[in-house]
């Protein structure tokens, strides 16, 4: 089995000032679904567009596929402008949310379809189809129809059908959203392994942030048609550049602080009268004055009043306690802001009851600063 064959044509994709406007549903005005999007997807890379529904991620994907026409801007695949290239001539493949398997064709014929359309010699069709079926472990069910196999198998058929034509770019439209949670995690890992092995340039669209983190080389966060941030999963989680990104990629607390001064990466801040140092404040925060401190729930620790109270930045009361086994989650109300705290391995530490007054210690190592008022 030579997998290298599948990767031969991988191309890079460039989106330049890509914009799409639709007529609004009531017909009165226009809705900008995609607004001046610029993005470079390198050959062999897997980029995920992550955003809430209606953010323009699927529209972007469909414009690359050729199912929607950009209002303005251009799409370059392998350096070539594809504006005048119809979708069936772009050399791409797509894995659809609903899989879109051909219900009236066997699994073998589903996979062979793209090759048959190209009118390749029968021997080549047979050989390549078989190779794709082997790769996705579908050989034993090749003669069945899509309705006769499980959801996970349908997913693999859709993938086999997409890679067998050796696309220059592989597009994924929320391909895992129809699977149950366990299978979704399994398929997610399989998909990533396969993509790495074959090295196919891939664009993946999802609204599930853990999926995005698990499979992507880079993540693009979109909202209301705009790209909000691009970076590796780690860059985005650890250095969010806006409140929206911090909130959308994982959970975040926003503590109101006052910046007293900046020195290199580190910042001096004041919280409720006490002063603290934020060693890696990030580049998004202000030089001085009011700001928001982004703190992940796992970077907060509740402590009993008294003993460690002097180290606690905030004081509050536990409104709600939820026990997940691996995590104890506390919702704490403070004078400053409502806080969400997640303590890992809760059985190894003290568990607080609802109604308890506590101090909250902030781990400033992973905290970042953002401007206080953000224009959304």
């Amino acid at each position: 089995m030579s997998e290298r064959d599948f990767s031969a044509r991988s191309s890079n994709v460039s989106l330049l000032h890509l914009t799409k406007r639709f007529r609004s549903l009531d017909g009165s005005g226009e809705v900008t679904a995609v607004n001046d999007v610029n993005l470079e997807i390198r050959a062999g890379e897997l980029v995920t567009i992550l955003g809430p529904s209606g953010c323009g991620k699927t529209t972007t994907l469909r414009m690359i596929a050729g199912f929607e026409y950009p209002t303005s801007g251009s799409i370059l695949i392998g350096g070539q402008d594809v504006a005048m290239v119809p979708p069936n001539k772009r050399g791409l493949s797509m894995v659809f949310q609903s899989y879109a398997l051909f219900p009236h064709l066997t699994i073998y014929e589903n996979v062979a379809y793209g090759l048959r359309v190209q009118k390749l010699p029968a021997a080549e069709i047979g050989e390549r189809t078989q190779r794709a079926l082997d790769l996705m472990q579908l050989t034993s069910m090749a003669k069945r129809y899509p309705s006769q196999v499980s959801g996970g198998q349908q997913q693999r058929i859709a993938l086999a059908r997409a890679i067998v034509i050796e696309p220059s770019v592989l597009l994924f439209d929320e391909p895992l959203s129809n699977l149950d949670a366990k299978l979704r995690e399994y398929m997610r890992d399989e998909l990533r392994k396969l993509q790495r092995r074959l090295g196919i340039t891939s664009l993946y669209v999802t609204h599930d942030q853990s999926e995005a983190m698990a499979i992507s080389d880079r993540v693009v966060i979109m909202k209301e048609g705009w790209i909000r941030q691009v970076g590796t999963p780690r860059e985005i989680y650890a250095f969010p550049q806006s409140k929206f990104v911090a909130d959308f990629m994982g959970k975040a607390n926003f503590v109101r602080v006052r910046v007293l001064g900046i020195e290199g990466e580190s910042a001096r801040v004041e919280i409720e009268g006490a002063q603290f140092t934020v060693p890696r404040a990030g580049k998004a925060g202000p030089v001085a004055g009011p700001a928001l401190l982004v703190v992940r729930p796992e970077a907060l620790r509740p402590v009993p009043l008294g003993s460690e109270q002097e180290r606690a930045a905030l004081k509050g009361r536990i409104d709600r306690f939820t026990y997940f086994g691996n995590i104890a989650r506390y919702e704490v109300s403070t004078e400053n802001a409502p806080l969400l705290i997640e303590s890992y391995n809760p059985e190894a530490s003290f568990i607080f009851e609802e109604g308890t007054e506590v101090g909250v210690i902030i781990d400033f190592e992973s905290a970042r600063l953002l401007p206080a008022e953000e224009q959304e």
Binding site: N88, S93, Q97, P103, S177
Partner: protein, 563 residues
């Protein structure tokens, strides 16, 4: 708006096959639907000297010779519409909501009037209730019962058209989410209260819709009024008599317009007003099966009602079957093959013509129907809404209007087609498309659009995608389009009566002539042979479409949420 038009034009230019198909469909629609209608309209308001004038039209419209048929047709349409809808509703309710025996039998019986040749019920009416009628004369001894008139027409049309109401209302009743009725039951409402407060109000759009559909059918019916209306003149028949009997083309086309107006109005109401009011909730999620009532106080009266309807239909059809084998109905009931010999000799050529033309037009109408459904549901191009409206319009345009329009449009340069097989085939094709379009459209809407997109992105052109993906999935819709086209082509009377020629005479028109000369048993034999041909053809089409390949079931898939 302009933005979208520009984009869809760009789309067309990028896909030459699509552009060609769109232009092809539009050419056909303009030539065979718009042009004839325009000709009727322009001819009606032009004087003999060729001037535009409403005066002639106005004078004619004020005379009672024109107003009486209009009043009669409207009255007949309203009466039949109400009666057929009531029977259809009870029938549909019994078959969807009540647990009773012989359901398959009742369903089968209710489809018979839809696929049967014309004249058959009128013929039965004459056999049973005429001067020599089995019931009027033999049973009750009436010497001069008058079977001709509105009362007979109402009976015959109600039996003919209640299946339309039944099918429409079955759709409505079956698709109402059972959870809504279950919720009412759960809140403590009785069955009758649920019916009054939930089921009936929710089926009002379906009821109105079925009434309008039956009204259209009744208004445009030619064959029944032509043979048993007596002095009760209707527009469809008067228009024909005015043109063929009095050679008054202008009067005929004015009547055609008078016929067109109410049917068109009913069609627009049904399609655009009622369809928006439908309460049918299509969630795509599997709904739990409906709990059917087993209350004997409900089951047996409904069963008796369905049985009565079924027996009436059997009586009417059985009568014609018997009538085909007796020497002279009412006088000499001895067995004979003579009438079949007549059909196979003198009647053979029109019969052969009917089969040839029906077979020729069926695949054209079927494919065109699927193509239009595909274009309208799946593609973006300028004039899409117009294409949808015009192609469905033929359902509402009475055959009489089509016939007169075709004479006016194709009886001179540049289209000298009157009397040709080609024009008959086109008349069949464009009149018989709507069922294919409707079933194709509703099938396509249910099929996830991304299945076709998957084919496209794998490299297939529009044409390949249509042939290899869409058409096989549309197999059922395609089949019903084919069956309907064939049956309608075989049984057409009103449009083709204007278009036949000595070379291309048709079976239905021969039956009509047999009525005119009171050769009822020959007509009966003719009808029996036609039924046999239709049954064989439907079986054949079923087999043929079976070879198109496995249609499978649509693989599971979630909502296609657009982010």
């Amino acid at each position: 708006m302009r933005e979208n038009t520009r984009l869809s034009v760009a789309h067309l230019v990028r896909d030459p096959v699509l552009l060609f198909l769109v232009l092809l469909v539009f050419t056909g629609l303009i030539l065979f639907i718009i042009l004839p209608l325009y000709k009727i309209f322009s001819y009606s308001i032009t004087t003999n000297e060729g001037k535009l004038s409403l005066q002639a039209a106005w004078d004619i419209l004020r005379s009672s010779a024109y107003l009486q048929p209009l009043k009669n047709s409207m009255l007949l349409g309203l009466t039949t519409g109400v009666l057929a809808t009531i029977i259809g509703y009870v029938f549909a309710y019994a078959l969807t909501r009540v647990d009773m025996p012989l359901k398959r039998f009742f369903k089968a019986i209710a489809t018979i009037p839809i696929i049967s040749p014309p004249f058959i019920l009128s013929l039965s009416m004459i056999f049973l209730f005429g001067r020599n009628g089995l019931i009027t004369n033999r049973l009750f001894g009436f010497e001069d019962s008058n079977v001709y008139g509105m009362h007979s027409l109402v009976v015959v049309q109600t039996i003919s058209f209640f299946p339309i109401a039944y099918l429409t209302l079955t759709g409505t009743l079956a698709k109402l989410n059972p959870a809504v009725e279950d919720a009412a039951l759960n809140l403590g409402a009785s069955r009758s209260r649920i019916f009054r407060t939930v089921t009936l109000p929710l089926s009002v759009p379906g009821i109105l819709s079925s009434f309008l559909l039956v009204f259209i059918q009744s208004m445009e019916d030619f064959s029944n009024p032509a043979v048993i209306s007596g002095n009760f003149s209707t527009l469809a028949v008067e228009a024909y008599r005015t043109i063929t009997g009095m050679y008054d083309m202008r009067g005929g086309s004015l009547m055609a317009l008078m016929l067109l107006a109410p049917t068109l109005l009913a069609f627009v109401l049904q399609k655009y007003w009622l369809s928006g009011k439908s309460f049918v909730t299509v969630t795509g999620k599997p709904t739990t099966s409906r709990q059917q009532s087993r209350d004997p106080k409900l089951v047996w009266p409904l069963f008796a009602f369905c049985m009565l309807v079924a027996l009436t239909i059997i009586l009417f059809y059985g009568t014609v079957l018997v009538g085909a084998f007796v020497k002279i109905w009412g006088i000499n009931f001895s067995f004979t093959w003579a009438h079949f010999k007549y059909v196979m000799t003198l009647g053979w050529i029109p019969l052969r013509n009917s089969v040839i033309l029906a077979l020729a037009s069926t695949p054209v109408a079927g494919l065109l129907g699927m193509l239009i459904a595909f274009l309208v549901v799946r593609k973006e191009f300028p004039g899409k809404r117009a294409m949808e409206f015009v192609s469905m319009l033929t359902f509402a345009v009475p055959g009489t209007v089509v016939g007169i329009g075709y004479i006016l449009a194709f009886n001179g340069k540049p289209f000298m087609w009157t009397g040709s097989a080609f024009l008959l085939i086109m008349a069949f094709t464009f009149r018989n498309m709507p069922v294919g379009i409707e079933s194709g459209t509703s099938t396509l809407i249910q099929i996830d659009r991304s299945i076709e997109e998957a084919s496209t992105i794998l490299g297939a052109t529009s044409a390949v995608t249509f042939r290899r993906i869409s058409l096989p999935m549309l197999k059922q819709a395609f089949l019903s389009g084919l069956v309907y086209s064939f049956v309608r082509a075989m049984t057409a009377v009103s449009a083709v009566i204007f278009l036949i020629s000595p070379r291309w005479n048709l079976a239905t028109i021969s039956i009509f002539s047999l009525f005119e000369s009171s050769k009822y048993s020959d007509a009966a034999a003719y009808i029996v042979v036609m039924i046999a041909i239709i049954v064989v053809a439907i079986g054949g089409l079923n087999l043929l479409v079976g070879f198109l390949g496995n249609s499978g079931t649509v693989a599971s898939g979630g909502s296609s949420e657009r982010a």
